[in-house]
Each structure stands twice: as structure tokens, then as C-alpha cells.
């Protein structure tokens, strides 16, 4: 065996790298079939359009790490979307305060998810389905079902523009992902999150405050969903209550592809980057080969199942 194949094998065996290798392979195949994939326009549009989902995936990944799941992510993004537009357009609130309010509301949404899960002792799956439905309702009530277009140019330029040719939205997502990767890998909080996702009973026995960490994780995730919502507002220049319908599965799919485990205790936030982009490249690939868009939805479902099966094979639980 040559040194190269050995090297590739050892990288492949490291679960944190696996999503990135998949991404590179997938991207190379797509580019080989259609060199347009490599154009700067194509890459820029891929990065920009996947940025909102990156935030959802990042938040979901944190929640999956502690052994919970969050289904409310798409509705939380929609709430941030209509709220950003509403505050700036209807209430003429300046950009910065408006953004801070939206982020605070995002945190509140996550906090509510966390506190109901912990205090009600209800599975997060059920709690967040319910809050997800309710939040979508709030969006409709707030907008009365209409979209809110026409955001301030200042806002559109900063969140929808580019820096040195790279979409600002993507730069922001990348910053958050790297920040969370460092927190997860190098701080006590991160270690405790992995520990409680791996074995919550043991975590409680060594004195970890699992309830507090759960509430905190949902709250942080809520802030990221809100950031995704702010960005998508700038990209579409409007708030629309039905935005991101069906993105629940996209977020979970991208997190799982990126290395999160539905049973908890695994995954690196950096994987959210690869997971989201893999999903984006696959969709573009399907469009490129001319597949009916409806099949793309089927394909997404299949991808989640396949990714989960592959991952759970690698991690055998003793219990």
C-alpha cells in the first residue's frame, strides 16, 4: 500500500474529516461533468444560497449533540425573517437595534423549547414540533399572510453583499461555525455537551447540570436560527411567512451528513459546513442532469436515511 492510499485511509477513518472528503469528491464529479460548476459565479451563488441553511444546520447540530432534536428550526427562521422585515419596514426601527431584537427573540424561542423539554419532561421531538407549528402561526398572524418587501439598502448591502468576492452571509456563517467548533472542542461546556449526549445518566452522576446545558443549547441554537432568518431577509429583500417551509428535514439531513448522530454525543460543528454544501451540490447536480424538481424532495429523504444508516453503523452502542 502506498503512502498516499494509507494517508487517505487514515483521513477517511477520522469521522470529522469524512464529510469534507465526500464534499470534495462530489464537487469534483459535478465539475467533471459540467465545468461551469467551478465558475466563480456558480461557487458564489452556491455559498450564498446555502448560508441560511448553514445556520439551521449549525443549531441543529448542537441540539443533536446533547441527545435532543429540534424540529422548530425552519419556523424559527421564518419568524426571524418576518420580524426583521416588519421591524425595519413597518416600524422603521434602525438596522442594528432591529437585528438585536430579532436575535433576542430567537434566543427566547430556543429558551422556550429548552425549558418546556426540561421542566415538562417531554421529548424535545414533540415539544419542537408543537412550537414549530405555533411559530409558523405567529408568522401568519404578524404578517396577516402577506409578504413585507422593501428593506433598507444599508441592510441589504451589509448582509446580502460580498467582501473580496465572498458573500458576507457565508463569511458570517463560517465565523459562527468556527467559533462553535472551538467551543465544542476546547471548552468545558463543549465537553459536557458531548458527555450528556453520550450518556446523560452518567453525566448527571458526575455532577453535570444537564438541564441547564439543555436549555442553554436550545437557546444558542435559537440565536443561530434567527441569524439564518436575518440573512434570508436580505437575500430575498422581503419577509414572507411561508418561507423555508419543509426545511426541517434539510437542516436535520445536513447535520447528519455533516457527522451529527441522531442518538447524540457525536459530531463537530465544522461538519455543518460540509453537510450543508453537500446537500447544495447534490440538489444542483440533480438540476444539472435534468431531474424533475419533485424528485429532489424524494432524494433528500433518501439521503437522510442513507446518512443515518452509514453513521450508526460506525458507532455501536453498548446499551
Amino acid at each position: 500500500m502506498s503512502l498516499l492510499t494509507k494517508g487517505v485511509k487514515s483521513i477517511w477513518e477520522n469521522e470529522d474529516f469524512r464529510p469534507f472528503i465526500s464534499l470534495i469528491v462530489l464537487f469534483a464529479v459535478s465539475a467533471a461533468i459540467n465545468p461551469d460548476f467551478l465558475s466563480s459565479y456558480s461557487i458564489r451563488s452556491l455559498l450564498a444560497s446555502m448560508s441560511p441553511l448553514m445556520f439551521l444546520t449549525l443549531g441543529e447540530m448542537l441540539v443533536l449533540t446533547i441527545g435532543s432534536v429540534d424540529i422548530s428550526l425552519a419556523s424559527a427562521l421564518a419568524l426571524a425573517n418576518v420580524l426583521t422585515a416588519g421591524l425595519m419596514v413597518k416600524h422603521n426601527i434602525p438596522v442594528l437595534p432591529a437585528i438585536l431584537i430579532v436575535l433576542a427573540v430567537g434566543a427566547l424561542v430556543g429558551f422556550i423549547n429548552g425549558i418546556i423539554t426540561v421542566k415538562g419532561k417531554i421529548p424535545s421531538f414533540i415539544v419542537t414540533i408543537a412550537t414549530g407549528v405555533a411559530l409558523r402561526g405567529v408568522c401568519l398572524v404578524y404578517t396577516r399572510g402577506y409578504s413585507i418587501p422593501g428593506l433598507p439598502t444599508e441592510f441589504l448591502n451589509s448582509f446580502g453583499g460580498n467582501t473580496f468576492g465572498v458573500p458576507n452571509a457565508f463569511l458570517l456563517a463560517l465565523t459562527c461555525i468556527i467559533l462553535m467548533t472551538v467551543i465544542m472542542k476546547a471548552t468545558k461546556l463543549g465537553r459536557y455537551m458531548y458527555a450528556m449526549g453520550g450518556n446523560e445518566e452518567a453525566a448527571r452522576a458526575v455532577g453535570i447540570n444537564a438541564d441547564l446545558i439543555r436549555i442553554l443549547t436550545f437557546t444558542i441554537a435559537g440565536v443561530f436560527y434567527a441569524l439564518g432568518g436575518i440573512i434570508i431577509t436580505a437575500q430575498f429583500n422581503s419577509g414572507w411567512p411561508q418561507i423555508a417551509s419543509g426545511w426541517e428535514l434539510d437542516g436535520i439531513a445536513a447535520a447528519v451528513i455533516g457527522g451529527a448522530n441522531l442518538a447524540g454525543g457525536a459530531g463537530l460543528p465544522l461538519g455543518a459546513l460540509a453537510g450543508t454544501l453537500i446537500l447544495g451540490v447534490i440538489v444542483r447536480f440533480l438540476v444539472m442532469i435534468g431531474l424533475n424538481p419533485y424528485y429532489q424532495i424524494v432524494a433528500k429523504g433518501v439521503i437522510v436515511v442513507l446518512a443515518s444508516v452509514t453513521l450508526s453503523k460506525g458507532l455501536k452502542y453498548a446499551k
Binding site: 476546547a186 471548552t187 468545558k188 465537553r191 459536557y192 458531548y194 458527555a195 453520550g198 450518556n199 445518566e201 452518567a202 453525566a203 448527571r204 452522576a205 458526575v206 455532577g207 453535570i208 447540570n209 454525543g265 457525536a266 458507532l315 455501536k316 452502542y317 453498548a318 446499551k319
Partner: protein, 508 residues
């Protein structure tokens, strides 16, 4: 009497343990056949095999002279064997009657439909329960019953079935004396009707009340099958305990001097059970001094784990006081006990101890991350140094601290949890069954580690159902029975036989 069941060379191997080793025995018609043995001797495994719960066994089973292979509980039922579980396996949201008749409900016809005949079911249940002298309401939901009532329902359910062979696993552990009497009456009556019984128990005196023959098991091997009329109580205890000792033994030489203030003082501690399968504790009083090992032993279900959990702050207490280094602990919690330097080593480390997907060093340092922090970040270099030191001290193999812990052997997993506790520089270690389920060599090493803990001045409470552990290690041995401490011995003053007598409630 004719033989109804014969077993030849029954063997069952779990990973690393031979639970049953070439056991042969027979059951006669209209016989009550007792099965006794210490913890881990294979009694329950035996019952589970002939009831189809462990289909993967070696050996042959004959019923009425014909060989059968029992692959699942339904098959066991078909050949006429039924089991009364030690911990009732009932459906909590169904009523008593529904539980007893589950799967064979009486029916009546309404037009063209067969529907369950509730009246008949209730009446039949009432009749069955009356035979046991019980006043349980037949339409109460099982979850609202007491533990002893649940056990009666479990027994009634098996007796109501048309089985030829009824297996009872510790049926009296939660029953009152009068309920036990009724149970024995029923057994005698069913015996006359031609039924046969296997009767597993820890209470030797019951053997003499109800059994015709008794088989003694030890370490999965059959020691003997004897007629009850030809042996004495002491004979059975002797057979259960055995004469030979382990080839490799570790004996602690040191004796701790008790002085100053006790590390832990417990006064009149009582609890009520957290789950139906757990037991309550009554008036537990004990003291542990620095460098002292207090061994607490007893049979399964005596309340050892319950006491260990209560002392670790994991289960609430109802009454009594706990002092650590003279300071009274109010509102006990795991976090509070850890901050006082009290470390708990759980019986089931896979469930309550290990983080299986995490690395060895992460498992060792999880309790001391505050000490390893530099600003916001964990100092990984220092962390690995600390972990490596403890892994080496305890001789964990392989010594690679980056290994994912679920891939370690049972003994090494236990050592990882011990290392985690040691890293916190504890004042008191509460060890629940630290040597259970590990091989002889690992057992030797873990015992040595425990002795070393005491040498360093750490106080140790060692809970073990293996008498050998407490005999070899403890300065003082406390024996639990039925949620109480019933016996106390100084080092060197106890024998296995003596402990066994207290552990099975013979001396009270």
C-alpha cells in the same frame, strides 16, 4: 414418581462468563424442586433457559422423555412451562384481571362478533385471588398496586395458566408472612393436582417448608441434588459457600485506626423506593473513618445499591441525617456530595458511569475540568498528562489514553471510572459492586487498588454481594437484609457461613 423434565449438560456462556456449566438435573411429577446458590451461581439463568428467554444454550432438555429445543417463551408455554419472574413483568396500565387473562381472555358472542367477556374475566380473577387470601380489587390498574400485590398478581397469572411445570424465581421476596402461607397452600394444592415446581430462593428455611428435593448451584456448576429430608440447614449453607478459594487472592494486611472525626456519618437514614423494583431503607446508621474500608454485603435485593445511591445523593432520603467531616448535609444532591469529595462508583458502569463514545482521557478528566482550565479553554496538554498518570497508576490496558472507551474490556472500563474518581482527590469512595462481572485477574487488581485507596487515607464504603471482597478487604463488615443493617463484624471475626446466615435473614 415419574420424571417429567430432564436436563442434561446445560451450559450457557455470556461474554467472558460461564453462567451455567454442564448442569444436569431432573424434575419429577408432583415435586417441588428447590434451587439455591449464592449470587451469580446461575439460578435465574437456569430458569430463563427452560422458559425460552435465553434460546442460545448448549445441552439437552427432555420433557416426558422427548427432547425439546426451547427457542422462545411461547414454545416454553406450549410444552407446559411457565415462569413467575422475580421482578413482576406486568402491564401497569391494564387492570389486575386483564393482566391475569392477557392473551387468553374469555369471550362471548354478540351477534356475529366475539367480544371479551369482562364479567366472566373478573369473576374468575376474583376466585383465583381468593385462593391466595388476597383482597386486591380485580379492576384496579396494576400500576396502583403495592409491590407485594404486584408480586401476587404475577404469581396468580402463572398459576391460572394451564402449565405442568411452574418456575418460581424468589416469589416471596416482597410478600408478607401470611401471603407466603397462602402461596405455600396453593403450591401444595397444585402439587396434588399433578403439577411440578422449580423453586428458586435465597431463603433457605423455605426449602424445608415446601421443597421435596433441592439442587445447590455455585459459580454455574451443580454441587449436588439432595432430598430435603436428609439434610440440615447448615449442610445447605456449606454447599452454597464451598471450601476452595480462588487461586489468586489478594489480602489486605493493613488495619485502619479509627480516630478523629468520621469522614461520613449516617444516622437513622430511611428512604422510600424510587422504582417498584427497588427496596426501601430503614434506619441505616454507619460511620466511616479516614483510611478505613467498610464492607457492606448482602444478597441481591437487600438494599445495597439503594443505600449506595442514597449516600451519593442520587436518590432522595425520607428521614435521617448525613454528615461529611462533621458537617451536616442538607438537600443532598450528586453535585453537593462531589464537592464534598464523595465519589460514587456505580454498579452498572455502562449505564451510569461511562461515556462510551468518548476517549479514555476525556472519561478520566470529566470531573476535574475546572482545574484544567486556562481562561475559557481546557489545557489539553495538562489534561492528557493527568489522565496518563492515573491510567498508568491503575494499570489500564492498553495504556493508550486516546482509545474510545467502549472498546476496553470490562475490568479496564471499571478502572477508567476508578481513575476518574481518584483524579478528583476524593475523601470518600462509595464503590457499588466494583468486582462484579470481571475476570479473576482483573478482580485481583481492582481489590489491590481498593486497598491502596485506604492506604492513602481515603475512606471507602465497599458494597459487594461477593463475600470474598469484604472478607479480604474490609476493616468492618456490615450485612444488609431487607433494607436494614442486620449484622456487623470486625476484620477477621467473620466467616462466609456466618455472613450468609445474616444475609439470608436467619439471624435478625
Amino acid at each position: 414418581m415419574e420424571e417429567i423434565l430432564r436436563i442434561e449438560g446445560l451450559t450457557k456462556i455470556f461474554p467472558g462468563v460461564k453462567a451455567l456449566d454442564n448442569v444436569s438435573l431432573d424434575l419429577k411429577k408432583e415435586e417441588v424442586h428447590g434451587i439455591v446458590g449464592p449470587n451469580g451461581s446461575g439460578k435465574t439463568t437456569f430458569l430463563k433457559i427452560i422458559n425460552g428467554i435465553y434460546p442460545d444454550y448448549d445441552g439437552r432438555i427432555f420433557i416426558d422423555g422427548r427432547e425439546v429445543k426451547i427457542k422462545n417463551p411461547r414454545m416454553a408455554e406450549k410444552v407446559g412451562i411457565t415462569l413467575v419472574n422475580q421482578i413482576p413483568l406486568l402491564f401497569p396500565n391494564l387492570t389486575v384481571a386483564e393482566n391475569i387473562f392477557l392473551g387468553r381472555e374469555p369471550t362471548r358472542k354478540v351477534l356475529f362478533f366475539k367480544v371479551i367477556d369482562n364479567e366472566k374475566m373478573k369473576n374468575e380473577t376474583l376466585k383465583i385471588l381468593e385462593k391466595f387470601g388476597s383482597k386486591i380489587q380485580v379492576d384496579t390498574k396494576v400500576k396502583d398496586l403495592t409491590v407485594s400485590a404486584q408480586q401476587l398478581v404475577e404469581i396468580a397469572r402463572a398459576f391460572a395458566r394451564d402449565a405442568k411445570i411452574i418456575c418460581l424465581d424468589e416469589p416471596t421476596s416482597a410478600l408478607s408472612p401470611s401471603e407466603v402461607e397462602h402461596l405455600f397452600d396453593q403450591i401444595r394444592k397444585l402439587k396434588e393436582e399433578g403439577k411440578s415446581f422449580f423453586y428458586v430462593t435465597h431463603r433457605i428455611e423455605e426449602i424445608f417448608q415446601i421443597c421435596d428435593r433441592v439442587t445447590v448451584l455455585r459459580d454455574g456448576k451443580k454441587i449436588a441434588t439432595v432430598n430435603v429430608s436428609e439434610v440440615t440447614y447448615d449442610d445447605i449453607v456449606k454447599m452454597m459457600v464451598g471450601e476452595e478459594r480462588l487461586k489468586i487472592t489478594f489480602e489486605r494486611k493493613e488495619v485502619a485506626q479509627r480516630f478523629g472525626e468520621p469522614i461520613l456519618k449516617v444516622v437513622n437514614l430511611s428512604t422510600s423506593p424510587q422504582e417498584a423494583s427497588r427496596r426501601s431503607l430503614t434506619n441505616i446508621t454507619l460511620e466511616v473513618y479516614p483510611g478505613e474500608i467498610v464492607g457492606i454485603t448482602g444478597i441481591v435485593g437487600a438494599g445495597k445499591t439503594e443505600l449506595a445511591r442514597a449516600l451519593a445523593g442520587l436518590d432522595p432520603t425520607v428521614k435521617g441525617e448525613i454528615y461529611v467531616k462533621g458537617k451536616k448535609i442538607k438537600r443532598i444532591s450528586p453535585l453537593k456530595m462531589i464537592s464534598e469529595g464523595v465519589i460514587y462508583f456505580p454498579e452498572d458502569i455502562m449505564r451510569e458511569g461511562l461515556f462510551p463514545q468518548m476517549r479514555m482521557y476525556e472519561n478520566i478528566t470529566i470531573s476535574i475540568l475546572d482545574r484544567l482550565k486556562k481562561l475559557f479553554f481546557i489545557d489539553e496538554k495538562k489534561e492528557k498528562e493527568v489522565a496518563k498518570k492515573w491510567a498508568e497508576t491503575l494499570g489500564i490496558k492498553p495504556p493508550n489514553i486516546n482509545v474510545i472507551v467502549q472498546n476496553l474490556s470490562g475490568g479496564n472500563k471499571k478502572k477508567v471510572i476508578l481513575a476518574r474518581g481518584l483524579a478528583t482527590s476524593p475523601v470518600l469512595f462509595i464503590l457499588d459492586e466494583p468486582t462484579m462481572g470481571i475476570d479473576v485477574k482483573a478482580k485481583f487488581e481492582v481489590r489491590k487498588i481498593i486497598a491502596d485507596l485506604a492506604k492513602q487515607g481515603i475512606a471507602v464504603i465497599l458494597f459487594s454481594s461477593e463475600f470474598e471482597d469484604v472478607l479480604l478487604l474490609a476493616d468492618r463488615i456490615l450485612v444488609m437484609y431487607s433494607g436494614r443493617i442486620v449484622g456487623s463484624f470486625e476484620k477477621g471475626k467473620a466467616t462466609k457461613e456466618e455472613i450468609m446466615k445474616y444475609a439470608i435473614g436467619m439471624v435478625n
